[in-house]
């Protein structure tokens, strides 16, 4: 199953719409609850990052019997130093983002914690691509 959603940069009223839609799909597919929660939290953090930093973004979700693969690609300023961006506490967020309850420099590390595989590629001045993979099995309960 493949799903594609667009994200508008700067639009905080809609941040989380994609993660919300994906959460409902994972529930319908009866994906293990713990893993499903990790997936939607990682995706939500990624969505907030696009809204907070980029001009626009696209989320592709690809679900098969073994894994959920999510790619979040955006057009935006990119990340100059990915290693530094991964450090907890490092943030370039604006005061507006902080007022929303984010921008503490915890998003990327929380995405890593909630995914089985994460890769970030970025070209400063052009944009960023984040790939997340979570392995799934049907919910035993």
């Amino acid at each position: 199953m493949q799903i594609r959603h667009k994200i508008a940069g700067g639009d905080f009223t809609r941040a989380g719409n994609v993660a919300s839609a994906v959460k409902k799909i994972l529930q319908q597919l009866n994906i293990d609850h713990k893993q499903s929660k990790r997936i939607v939290i990682a995706l939500y953090e990624g969505e907030v990052n696009v809204v907070a930093h980029a001009y626009s973004g696209v989320v592709d979700v690809d679900i098969d019997s073994e894994k959920v693969r999510i790619t979040i690609s955006d057009k935006g300023p990119g990340i100059k130093d990915i290693e530094q961006a991964m450090e907890e506490g490092f943030s370039t967020a604006t005061p507006q983002v902080r007022e929303m309850g984010f921008g503490a420099g915890m998003g990327l590390s929380n995405m890593k914690r909630n995914s089985d595989f994460m890769e970030i590629r970025s070209v400063p001045g052009e944009g960023t691509l984040v790939e997340l993979i979570n392995y799934i099995r049907p919910d035993a309960s």
Partner: protein
């Protein structure tokens, strides 16, 4: 002894006004977490949690949805907005406004037996 409490009892302890999902007041919770930083809330990996916050924007509800938080107490006499209520109703999240500070609300609920997540 179970330390679970119903939202009905919790709302009473904090002089809370229930804003939405009144039909779910018999839901019980075991843990509470107090934060205005949604990034911190998103790192909580417990179930059955109540959130105490002074932040009133849509991302409070979105964060609660993703974290499976089924009740939010909005402290410091802050008022929730219509968009928050709509999204909370959609996701069966009970919203309670309390005139007390986050510290006061936390203290009452801790005293009554709600557990901290760490």
């Amino acid at each position: 002894m179970s330390s679970q409490m119903t939202i009905r009892d919790i709302a009473g302890l904090v002089d809370g006004r229930v804003i939405c999902c009144e039909d779910r007041l018999s839901t019980s919770v075991e843990y509470a977490f107090a934060s205005d930083l949604m990034s911190d809330v998103l790192t909580v990996d417990k179930e059955n949690i109540l959130l105490i916050t002074g932040l009133t924007n849509l991302q409070v509800i979105r964060t609660s949805e993703m974290s499976d938080i089924n009740c939010v107490i909005v402290a410091r006499d802050k008022k929730v907005n219509d968009d928050m209520v709509r999204l909370a109703e959609e996701n069966n999240i009970i919203l309670v406004e309390s005139p007390h500070s986050v510290f006061h609300v936390s203290g009452e609920l801790y005293k009554a037996g709600l557990k901290p997540i760490y």
